[in-house]
């Protein structure tokens, strides 16, 4: 009986010390992708709410963290090769078997349409209002059924910066609106484009945005990070933290 108790105690202590060992000894390289207003890399990113939330979580768990800013195009390659351990915020494409993600999404994005202010349609479930409208859609992107099933003329937008192209064509009256998978990136008060367009949302069609983890990370470290992130999200979800920021 006494022996069994001792074994149990030793087991518990070793599990605890394993977690603290994992956190204390590990230096994590965390990559950020530009995703305003959550993290804006052209500004001092340490002022961004996502950085502040994540940094607090890692610090509380005694992780040593090195942060790097990454362009979207290169970010996944860096993660796959293990040059960054953690990457955020990102939707994980279904064909990406070469990376993992934490079990709880960081936040969700909702797609929408951006209009010239005077032509603004606030409620997008009123799909009959799209009839004969010319709506720009980033070429090759998936569009919600509410739009594809409507009577709108969908015009593919090509080029490297489809958002700027969409804003430009909307301003010139060549488009009535343009589709954006995450209009919050455009339509937030810190963005100069806030003055140019107004966006509304296809509520009910959301995409989870995750923290991605390299496959080269050990199972123990992955489990430890997943656990501390789940705990943090339970105590204060990131979206609530974001909404309550000053």
């Amino acid at each position: 009986m006494v022996f069994a108790k001792k074994v149990k105690k030793i087991y518990c202590l070793s599990v605890l010390s394993l977690f603290s060992f994992v956190s204390l000894s590990q230096t994590l390289t965390v990559g950020f992708i530009d995703f305003p207003p959550h993290i804006a890399l052209h500004e001092e990113y340490k002022d961004s709410p996502l950085y502040q939330y994540i940094n607090k979580v890692f610090l509380q768990a005694n992780f040593k963290v090195v942060y790097v800013k990454l362009p979207r195009e290169r970010a996944f390659t860096e993660l796959i090769k293990g040059r960054v351990d953690v990457l955020m915020p990102t939707s994980i494409p279904s064909n990406h078997e070469t990376v993992r993600k934490l079990s709880v999404p960081l936040f969700h994005t909702v797609p929408g349409l951006c209009f010239k202010k005077e032509n603004y349609i606030p409620i997008l479930s009123a799909t009959h209002r799209f009839e004969k409208l010319n709506i720009g859609v980033p070429a090759g992107s998936q569009v919600v059924a509410a739009l594809t099933g409507s009577q709108a003329n969908l015009i593919p937008l090509k080029g490297e910066d489809v958002t700027s192209r969409g804003v430009e064509l909307t301003q010139r009256g060549r488009l009535d609106a343009f589709y954006h998978p995450s209009p919050v990136k455009v339509y937030h008060q810190e963005n100069p484009l806030y003055k140019e367009v107004a966006c509304s949302y296809f509520h009910g069609y959301s995409t989870p945005i995750y923290i991605a983890i390299t496959n080269t990370m050990s199972k123990e470290t992955f489990t430890a990070i997943n656990k501390i992130f789940q705990k943090a999200m339970l105590e204060e979800p990131y979206e609530y933290y974001f909404a309550m920021r000053k």
Partner: protein, 261 residues
């Protein structure tokens, strides 16, 4: 063992069994009462937020107005005040995870609308009780906490296709449409898991008729000649010609039993 001893043991066993059965049934009733109370609190919190959104239309759509009352803790405080005025009772204590998640989601939804709220170039923002309720439902569905809230109505009369009633809601509305009363089902399913569901019918309110009533109720027609009246409401939908006596739909709440435990 003598006969009297056997009798004594049998009596003892009988007493223990009776007490256990009594305790179990007491516990079941207590749990049932607790679940009903929780689901009622959530319904009333949800409805109070819709009423506050209705009452705040001037702040929501107004230009050069401070919108802080619609955001963060102040938004929740205003919903609490609305609750007190509407139900003449204190706002429920935040003593369950589901209530906390609901209040957090309310704050998050209004923050999602922050850019729009402060956009003085947009007049009508489209943040009305029904759209707020739908945004809140959509937000809660992303939380993965086994709580589903919906403001819905009979299938043929729903403007937002994503808000159509499911088969449980349709069958409940069919039962209670003519004699509206709260319908409680403790043996339902949500996401294939055992759940408790409640449908609380809402009486048609005058503010609903501004969009769903007859052209006479349409604020856009105010001050215009009858010949110039429109049956398209401010949100861009055709008005349904409902009257104050029509069925107003209701609030459907589902909670997985595992959440309640």
């Amino acid at each position: 063992m003598t006969l009297s001893n056997i009798k004594k043991v049998a009596l003892k066993v009988f007493c223990i069994l009776s007490a256990s059965i009594y305790l179990i049934s007491f516990n079941v009733h207590a749990n049932d009462a607790h679940m009903k109370s929780l689901i009622n609190d959530i319904t009333k919190m949800y409805m109070s937020s819709m009423v506050y959104v209705f009452k705040s239309q001037q702040i929501i759509n107004g230009k050069n107005i401070d919108k802080k009352e619609l955001l963060g803790k102040r938004f929740i405080d205003n919903i609490k005040q609305t609750y007190l005025a509407k139900y003449k009772e204190e706002f429920p204590k935040e003593d369950h995870f589901a209530k906390t998640v609901l209040l957090q989601a309310m704050v998050e939804v209004m923050d999602d609308n922050k850019a729009l709220l402060y956009d003085d170039e947009i007049g009508f923002k489209g943040i009305i009780p029904a759209t707020f309720a739908f945004q809140l439902s959509a937000k809660l569905s992303t939380k993965g906490v086994g709580l589903k809230i919906k403001f819905t109505r009979t299938a043929g009369q729903i403007r937002n296709k994503l808000n159509r009633p499911d088969s449980w809601e349709s069958s409940v509305m069919k039962k209670i449409q003519n004699t509206p009363q709260i319908y409680y089902d403790e043996n339902a399913l949500l996401n294939g898991k055992p759940a408790i569901r409640q449908f609380t019918p809402l009486p048609m309110a005058h503010y609903c008729l501004a969009c769903h009533g007859v052209p006479d109720n349409n604020p856009l027609n105010a001050g215009k000649k009858r010949s110039e009246w429109s049956n398209i409401d401010i949100t861009g939908f055709e008005m349904e010609n409902w009257t104050i006596d029509d069925f107003g739909g209701g609030v459907s709440i589902s909670i997985e039993k595992s959440v309640l435990e």
